[in-house]
């Protein structure tokens, strides 16, 4: 289909669907239609998940074919195909898929989390070296105080931080700050949604 024809059509569908969902929040008669549209969306999201997997496969298949770091791509492709095949055959609750999940995916992702702990420690140590401004100084100081108040360090408790300053920051200062941030995020989300609803912003390529 021609782009000139497709774009207004896509915009019209997007605007209609958005308005319908928005109206259903206020008009109870639209509940059933809303449920049906949401079900379609969920179905489309599931199909998109599969397309994402296909994309991942083709990207690494191309890398393998063009011999760009082919070893890693080969490992990924073999693992993906094997897991997919076994899960189709044995079911997601089967013995082998569970073994793969428990002994490969969980340790790998947990290791990445451990790596993140090291990375963030390093980032905190170098924060003021990279960005020496007021906000970064406040951020670093707050981080340090909260760490001191998070529990005993090497078994030594610091009551001033664990019982007084730490809880004060966590319960009062950071809660207030977070509400402020959440209000900002909420407003941004609302206006982004409205922009799309009136067709002014078209992330679907228009």
């Amino acid at each position: 289909m021609n782009l000139r024809v497709r774009t207004p059509l896509a915009a019209a569908v997007a605007i209609a669907a958005g308005l319908l969902i928005l109206l259903s929040l206020f008009v109870t008669d639209f509940d059933e239609i809303r449920g049906r549209v949401l079900n379609w969306t969920i179905l489309l999201a599931a199909i998109a998940l599969l397309l994402g997997l296909v994309n991942l496969f083709t990207v690494h298949f191309d890398r393998l074919r063009s011999k760009q770091k082919p070893f890693y791509s080969a490992v990924l492709l073999v693992a993906m195909l094997a897991t997919f095949g076994i899960t189709i055959w044995d079911g997601s609750q089967g013995l082998i898929p569970a073994w793969i999940f428990t002994n490969i995916q969980i340790p790998v992702e947990t290791s990445l989390m451990a790596m993140l702990a090291i990375t963030l420690t390093l980032a905190a140590a170098r924060l003021l070296q990279h960005r020496n401004d007021l906000m970064s100084t406040i951020f670093a100081a707050t981080l340090f105080i909260l760490l001191l108040g998070s529990g005993p360090l090497f078994g030594i408790e610091l009551p001033l931080f664990t019982n007084t300053i730490g809880p004060y920051i966590t319960k009062i200062l950071s809660t207030g700050a977070m509400r402020g941030l959440l209000i900002g995020v909420g407003l941004g989300t609302l206006l982004t949604g409205l922009r799309i609803l009136i067709g002014a912003d078209r992330p679907y390529g228009g």
């Binding site: 449920g35 949401l38 079900n39 969306t41 969920i42 999201a45 599931a46 998940l49 997601s92 609750q93 569970a98 999940f101 428990t102 995916q105 969980i106 790998v108 992702e109 947990t110 990445l112 989390m113 790596m115 702990a117 090291i118 990375t119 420690t121 390093l122 905190a124 140590a125 170098r126 924060l127 003021l128 070296q129 020496n132 670093a140 981080l143 340090f144 760490l147 001191l148 998070s150 529990g151 005993p152 360090l153 090497f154 078994g155 030594i156 408790e157 664990t162 019982n163 809880p167 966590t170 319960k171 950071s174 809660t175 977070m178 509400r179 959440l182």
Partner: protein, 528 residues
């Protein structure tokens, strides 16, 4: 201010400069005269008698071959003479006579001061420079019309020339481009022709116009500031960060090793020396304990298991402690997750940590599995739990939950979550459907972010317990030893190591940034 002026710049020259220029012109003439082997160009002040012998010989031969009538300047072709000063003469090349049949003869008049000076590149360049600096100045040698002997064209070429027999060519373009019409040569009379060759082969530097501006000191300062800004913009910024790659890798290794040692050591020694946290400091954790503790036996409890594999290690002690408490109260557990990995992790947790509990051992719990569709699906489930999950294997599960039609029918809703966002989604979406609120069991990172909901009105979050600290606390409240207690010492040592590393790393960074770089003054260092 304009760079151009209609006034002849020569006229506006001061007297001393005019005198200097006159003297210079005179010196140039003398220099040309003294140059051996060069052709003497005619001058208004000089007569043609000063021609060298070899030139006179060429001239004689030329006249002899063409006849006296043709050797005379052709009056009907005055434009031809104008082309002569533009005839190419390359540096160091002595013009040689050419046969008249093939080409226009090279009369002595063809050689101008540029040509003559071109025998010596340096002197020619000087002359051109002089002319360029004063565009309107009078040339040192002026050629009188009488002294010029125009070249002659063969008859066939003359016949081709757009002379009087041709209509005037393109008068419009002549108006538009005054002076652009070719005045000489075979293309005389035509406009918009390509420039004659001598222009292209002109020897010397390109024209340089004076760019000295008459500006005030203030304007100069502004210009300097602007230039500095532009220079800074064009400097690449990535060099500094690229330099830091090596030390980053080393620091990563050192920090990783230090953290690993600090955590592994207490685990290996099974240390239990660190005092566990007090419940008085965490009333929200006490709420979780109190609400579970009064739960009637057999009550259905919905567990939203929103756990990622990456945080499974951290969540396990806490989730084990809370689920153990629920199973002790003989609750009927119903699991669901909006994360693809959630159901699998829930199964693993139950089998690995709570496999000995009767309900788990007999499989007396319900796992509704993965609820795909994110927030939309969650909202759909909260509005109609049975309708949203009544498909496939989940249909069988619901046979054991006949009493549940809506989410409020559950005795408790507990969200076990890796991050704040998943827990937040449950809290916000269930706010209307669960008047009493729900309980959250989360990773430590989510704790500060969810606190806001503990104080909300109407109440949306009734209790919150987080992290390894929460696990140790919960086990203390239940007077039991579990994974929370086993990890508590390692947690304490790891925390201490992180504080120490950040402190030392910060100080190291400060020292490094204060150390002057090679070849740079200390003052130019970026403050850090």
């Amino acid at each position: 201010m304009s760079y151009h002026s209609a006034k002849d710049p020569e006229e506006s020259l001061p007297d001393w400069l005019k005198a200097l220029r006159k003297r210079q012109n005179k010196e140039n003439v003398e220099a040309v005269d003294e140059t051996p082997g060069t052709v003497q160009p005619p001058s208004s002040s000089e007569t043609p008698e000063v021609e060298p012998e070899w030139l006179q010989e060429i001239r004689g031969r030329y006249r002899h071959e063409k006849g006296p009538e043709e050797a005379e300047p052709a009056e009907e072709q005055p434009s031809l003479g104008d082309t002569q000063p533009h005839t190419v003469s390359k540096i160091g090349e002595t013009p040689e006579p050419q046969p008249i049949e093939e080409e226009a003869p090279l009369a002595p008049e063809e050689f101008t001061i540029e040509d003559a000076g071109a025998q010596d590149a340096e002197s020619a360049a000087e002359v051109v420079d002089e002319e360029i600096e004063a565009p309107g100045h009078t040339p040192a040698f002026t050629e009188s019309e009488e002294a010029i002997s125009p070249g002659e064209l063969p008859s066939w070429l003359q016949a081709l020339r757009p002379g009087g027999s041709f209509p005037k060519e393109d008068t419009r373009s002549g108006e538009m481009l005054p002076g652009a019409a070719e005045a000489a040569g075979p293309l005389a009379g035509l406009s918009d022709v390509l420039p004659a060759e001598p222009d292209l082969a002109q020897i010397g530097k390109p024209p340089v116009f004076s760019t000295r501006l008459d500006i005030t000191e203030n304007q100069r300062l502004h210009a300097a500031a602007l230039k500095r800004l532009i220079d800074e913009e064009s400097k690449p910024t990535e060099d500094e960060s690229r330099r830091a790659v090596g030390p980053t890798r080393v620091l990563n290794l050192v920090m990783g090793a230090a953290l690993l040692l600090s955590v592994v050591f207490p685990l290996l020694t099974q240390s239990r020396s660190v005092v566990r946290p007090e419940s008085g400091l965490f009333p929200e954790a006490g709420n979780v304990y109190d609400l579970i503790d009064v739960l009637p036996a057999g009550a259905a409890v919905l567990i939203a298991f929103e756990v990622q594999p990456a945080t499974f290690g951290e969540i396990t002690p806490l989730a084990s402690a809370v689920l153990d408490h629920l199973l002790d109260r003989q609750a009927a557990l119903v699991f669901i997750s909006t994360q693809p990995t959630g159901p699998g992790l829930a199964e693993k947790l139950l089998q690995d940590q709570l496999g000995e509990m009767p309900n788990v051992a007999t499989g007396d719990y319900v796992n509704l599995g993965y609820l795909s569709g994110g927030m939309a699906a969650l909202r759909s489930f909260i509005n109609d739990p049975r309708g949203a999950t009544l498909s496939g294997l989940q249909a069988d599960a619901w046979q054991n939950l006949e009493s549940i039609d809506q989410i409020g029918d559950f005795g408790l809703v507990v969200v076990i979550s890796s991050g704040a966002e998943e827990a937040r989604a449950w809290v916000e979406q269930s706010a209307g459907a669960l008047p009493g609120g729900l309980l959250a069991v989360t990773s430590q990172q989510a704790n500060p972010l969810l606190r806001a909901y503990l104080q909300s009105d109407p109440l949306t979050l009734r209790g919150l317990v987080s992290g390894v600290q929460g696990a140790a606390l919960y086990e203390r409240m239940r007077a039991r030893e579990g994974l929370g207690s086993a990890y508590w010492d390692a947690y304490s040592f790891g925390l201490g190591a992180i504080v120490l590393l950040i402190l030392l790393g910060g100080l190291y960074g400060r020292v490094i940034s204060m150390k002057p770089e090679k070849g740079k003054p200390a003052g130019s260092q970026r403050a850090a």
